[in-house]
């Protein structure tokens, strides 16, 4: 019994870590051809090239970080305020129902629908346009996620704060934001992920001018450049692992 439990754990660990180990190995391989079980040589040459600064991987990483940061920050903050307004509205359920619309559509179809308007206002092919387009998915998601925070207890805490003399600004910064901190961090994390791995919307609205890291990975795969695709994939996973660690260390532990 004990042995079988241990075996399951070991198998689970292997299955979970295998893709990461494989990607890392592939990114370090000088050449790795079938039927070789392991690459003939491993070195850091490609990693050096990738991180040199004038490479599309490095610029993709920088761009992805900027876009994901703005999308996560804006959608979390705006989602917090909008979800509060919705929670206090008499037509709460109807308004929340509208928030499901962007998620019901495929991002590609969604992008095709909004692309015309983005071209008209000059947002197509710009970083601002990508942030705006991704916000149209991330913001409703944030609203839905944060909506459950606005329950009767929070409303009563708000009242307590006000009867003690706090105005809205003081209540917001001294009570609501600190109380909502765990939910806000989770929301920030989730919306960051939405933006980080977004492909369809970014491809169409970016019209090839905006190359995020995710798009770079697809590009290398399309070119059958598996070694660079592996490096990009490793880099794409790295910030997520850091966020997961922060989540585990600072949010779930509380």
């Amino acid at each position: 019994m004990k042995f079988s439990k241990k075996a399951i754990v070991v198998i689970a660990i292997i299955l979970f870590t295998f893709p990461f180990v494989y990607l890392l190995l592939l990114s370090l391989a000088d050449e790795w051809r079938f039927p070789r079980f392991l690459p003939a040589n491993v070195n850091l040459q490609r990693w050096k090239e990738a991180l040199e600064g004038n490479n599309s991987i490095f610029s993709g990483l920088t761009l992805s970080l900027i876009i994901a940061f703005f999308v996560a920050f804006i959608s979390t903050l705006a989602g917090f305020l909008i979800s509060r307004a919705i929670a206090q509205n008499q037509r709460r359920n109807l308004l929340l129902f509208f928030c499901y619309f962007p998620m019901a559509l495929s991002p590609v179809v969604y992008a095709l629908l909004i692309n015309y308007f983005f071209i008209r206002v000059g947002l197509s092919g710009s970083v601002a346009g990508i942030v705006m387009a991704q916000l149209m998915i991330a913001l409703p998601f944030a609203i839905l996620l944060l909506n459950s925070f606005w329950n009767r207890e929070v409303s009563s805490l708000e009242d307590v704060s006000k009867t003690l003399g706090a105005d809205f600004k003081q209540t917001f910064f001294k009570v609501l934001l600190p109380v909502a901190r765990p939910q806000l961090l989770v929301c920030c994390f989730q919306t960051f992920l939405i933006s980080w791995f977004e492909y369809g919307l970014t491809t169409i609205i970016g019209v090839g001018k905006i190359q995020t890291l995710t798009l770079t990975v697809y590009q290398y795969i399309g070119e059958a450049n598996i070694y660079y695709a592996a490096i990009s994939s490793c880099i794409i996973i790295f910030p997520i692992l850091i966020l997961l660690w922060i989540n585990k260390r600072f949010i779930y532990s509380k």
Binding site: T163, L164, A166, V179, R181
Partner: protein
């Protein structure tokens, strides 16, 4: 006169919860309002605090009309049945909350809060978080948090309703002691006859949205509709 409530009417949809409520409260006095659940006691307190807007009538505090004043400017503290402490702040910071809002100096906050924590018997718990406290301790902190800002009027909505008998008794005594010490003016809502009699300088009975305030405790006891006589005869029959 500290508080005057005139002709307050409030309806939720088709149901009229308060029907022309009138009463007044003198400075440093406690008015107990007794009544069954759903008779409109909480709505009345929330209207005075500014949490609910009345349909008709006026509220005067220290001779000034406060109907249109936002609740944070009314200086009236409302305490509900649930202690509702700020979950991200410890006991000390919960009590200091009102002082921090008023940007009082650090030393002054430290002195006032420490003194009040002593009065409330919470010395050992000053750095504990709300989830580490018992119901009675939470309510003590709630008292402290309300009292520290020295409000002209305190509204207590069944503050001991969730406590066990022994803790409830202790809290009643503590409230009496603090009310005298801090010269508190308050409206105390309860559905417990004994508590209403114990706490009050004046007493009122609320039924179906109307409030009757009695001249003294004897006239309250003598009124058949309050149910006090029934209660007395029950205990005597045992």
């Amino acid at each position: 006169m500290l508080l005057a409530v005139e002709n307050i009417i409030k309806a939720f949809k088709k149901e009229t919860v308060l029907k022309n409520v009138n009463f007044s409260l003198q400075q440093h006095h406690t008015l107990s309002i007794l009544g069954k659940s759903g008779c409109g006691k909480t709505t009345l307190l929330k209207i005075i605090a500014g949490l609910v807007q009345q349909d008709n009538g006026h509220i005067y505090l220290e001779e000034k009309i406060i109907d249109q004043q936002p609740l944070n400017l009314r200086k009236i503290v409302y305490m509900s049945q649930e202690p509702l402490l700020f979950p991200h702040l410890n006991v000390f910071e919960n009590i200091a909350f009102g002082l921090r809002l008023r940007k009082e100096k650090k030393e002054s906050v430290e002195k006032k809060v420490t003194e009040l924590i002593g009065n409330l018997g919470l010395q050992e718990h000053r750095f504990k978080m709300p989830h580490q406290l018992s119901g009675g301790q939470k309510q003590r902190v709630n008292f402290g948090r309300s009292l520290i800002v020295n409000p002209p009027l305190l509204l207590l909505d069944e503050p001991f309703g969730n406590l066990d008998t022994q803790t409830r008794k202790e809290m009643q005594l503590l409230f009496k002691q603090i009310a005298t010490e801090f010269s508190i003016s308050s409206v105390f809502v309860t559905h417990d006859i004994k508590e209403a009699l114990l706490m009050a300088d004046a007493i009122g009975y609320m039924k179906d949205g109307t409030l009757k305030v009695y001249d003294d405790k004897h006239s309250f006891i003598a009124d058949d509709s309050t149910g006090v006589k029934e209660e007395i005869s029950f205990w005597q029959s045992l």
